[in-house]
């Protein structure tokens, strides 16, 4: 796969009279064409700054952003404005033009690009249809719900046939149901149009729902970057653990008895493993710890089971699990 955005040793400092803030401190990333890439981090980690550097709304202090093989830093204002039509952006606050209706909002980037009015309107209607609110074409933003506004913003962002869609906290102002619908719309757009999508968020759920790869940003640096499921199964950095177990969930320390740890790495489908096992073996087990997630219908995460004392029952369980093609290992009970 080719890389659509490459970020090399990107640094950004904000200097004011009194102090300087280092917002990005040597960030390296590459985003592949056609993927949905997530960037997650706590507030102030530098996510917005990073995404704004990707279209040079913010000029980096040093380092480079290569978009589609071209260094944005080497472009003049005019070339940059042209390149920006291929790097669209949506925002947490939607940022629609309040004095224009939905259709006119979607026409806006086309007007800027100098597309003739008729052609622009045709394209805008097509885009509104794509995001599923063709019936709201004449409505003004003040008459739309948050989810509908974000749909208009997405239609507007896609009107110029961009290669990349940057989403800065695009769902953070929406309720969970609307968030889900917007996320699946993004996924659909990614598949249908092949647009590369960069999703900025502070919610792991968003990453889980649609991203293929993720970079975890912490204190202006990339703490960890890789496939979503790998990071879920095996978070290495503290910040990754913190984001995956948001309530400081820690693995418990066990009293006694024999335990096994089952690791779900996506090779099995998401089904009720434990209850099936209990039914098949006819013995009860105690779930000491579980953190599993359903990503794309596959199971990820791990589960810690306390086994019964009875040797026969124990053997039954081992046999059952081996037959299920699940990874598990025996754990000594900690005191």
């Amino acid at each position: 796969m080719s890389e659509i955005i490459q970020i090399r040793n990107l640094k950004k400092t904000f200097a004011s009279d009194k102090s300087t803030v280092i917002a990005l401190d040597g960030v390296d990333l590459s985003i592949e064409e056609g993927e949905i890439f997530g960037i997650i981090g706590l507030s102030g980690a530098g996510k917005s700054t990073l995404v704004r550097c990707m279209n040079y709304l913010e000029k980096p202090t040093s380092g480079s952003v290569i978009f589609d093989g071209q260094d944005l830093g080497s472009m003049n204002e005019k070339e940059l404005r042209k390149a920006r039509r291929s790097i669209s952006m949506i925002f947490q606050g939607f940022h629609l033009l309040m004095q224009r209706n939905a259709l006119q909002n979607v026409c806006f980037p086309l007007e800027i690009a100098g597309v003739p009015k008729k052609e622009a309107q045709r394209k805008a209607k097509e885009m509104l249809e794509l995001v599923g609110i063709a019936d709201k074409a004449q409505a003004y933003p003040a008459q739309l719900s948050g989810g509908q506004k974000q749909r208009v913003a997405i239609a507007r962002a896609l009107a110029t046939d961009p290669k990349v869609l940057l989403c800065d906290e695009a769902t953070s102002a929406l309720d969970p149901t609307t968030t889900q619908s917007i996320l699946s719309l993004l996924q659909q757009i990614n598949q249908k149009l092949g647009v590369t999508i960069v999703v900025i968020t502070h919610e792991m759920g968003v990453i889980e729902a649609i991203c293929r790869r993720v970079a975890i940003l912490d204190h202006s640096r990339v703490a960890e970057c890789g496939r979503v499921e790998e990071i879920f199964v095996n978070p290495r950095s503290d910040i990754a653990k913190q984001l995956i177990y948001p309530h400081g969930k820690k693995e418990p320390v066990f009293q006694k008895g024999e335990c096994i740890r089952i690791v779900f790495d996506g090779s099995s489908s998401f089904e009720p493993v434990v209850s099936n096992m209990v039914l098949a073996c006819g013995t009860a087990v105690n779930i000491l710890f579980a953190d599993t997630k359903n990503i794309d219908g596959k199971a990820y995460g791990q589960m810690l089971l306390q086994l019964p004392e009875d040797e026969m029952a124990k053997r039954k369980i081992y046999t059952y699990l081996s037959g299920q093609n699940l990874h598990f290992k025996e754990e000594c009970a900690n005191v």
Binding site: L80, M89, Q99, I112
Partner: protein, 220 residues
């Protein structure tokens, strides 16, 4: 007092007042609108920061605004004579009116444009909009209701200034009220002119308010 001569005089006064106010307001916007746009665009957080120009314009605007209108009116008499050929009458009064109002209008325009959400400007920039496009397609249309409302306020303020210019023979209702009410103690005439001014202010304000709210797509 309502003899035909007086009525003719008052009608003439109304006409002159409207003429001064409307022409001065238009010319104030011809100067003040670009000035206001320049102030906001060149601001250090603006879309094309130019520190020196911004500070210079800001200083000039504040300087002119801090000069009391009556003093400005008298101070620019030579300039008025040069432009219009005379320093009395309603056409001559337009010169100081515009000079005094343009900086005020510039500040009004600046504050209207400042109300536009910066995020929307940023969204436009992320689509590749240049400075001119941001001004003409985002700032001005988005601020339109506020600009119209402020225009009504500016117009009524200019009307007030025009009445003040009556002291130095500026013409219009202001001159009538000074000449008859102040110098000849005809307080009924003064009262009528003041009432007429009140009505004109109300009408301008109401028209501005109606146009502004009717055209605003944020409400409803």
């Amino acid at each position: 007092m309502f003899n035909p001569d007086m009525i003719r005089l008052l009608a003439q006064g109304i006409w002159e007042t409207l003429y001064m106010t409307i022409v001065s307001s238009l010319l104030s916007y011809v100067l003040g609108l670009p000035l206001g746009i320049l102030l906001i665009v060149t601001d250090k957080n603006g879309i094309h920061p130019m520190g020196f120009l911004n500070r210079l314009l800001g200083f000039v605007v504040n300087f002119v605004r801090s000069v009391p209108f009556l003093i400005l009116l008298i101070a620019v008499i030579p300039f008025t004579r040069f432009l219009v050929g005379t320093s009395v009458g309603s056409t001559a009064t337009i010169v100081p009116l515009v000079l005094a109002s343009a900086p005020f209008v510039a500040r009004m325009v600046e504050s209207s444009l400042k109300e536009v959400d910066h995020g929307v400007v940023e969204a436009a920039q992320s689509m590749g909009a240049g400075v001119w496009q941001v001004v003409t397609k985002v700032l001005l249309p988005e601020a339109k209701p506020s600009l119209i409302l402020n225009a009504a306020i500016a117009t009524t303020t200019i009307l007030g200034y025009s009445a003040m210019s009556g002291f130095v023979g500026g013409g219009g209702l202001g001159t009538i009220s000074i000449n008859y009410g102040f110098y000849r103690y005809q307080s009924d005439v003064m009262l009528v002119t003041v009432l007429l001014l009140v009505v004109i202010v109300q009408v301008f304000q109401e028209i501005g308010f109606r146009i502004a709210t009717k055209g605003d797509k944020r409400s409803r």
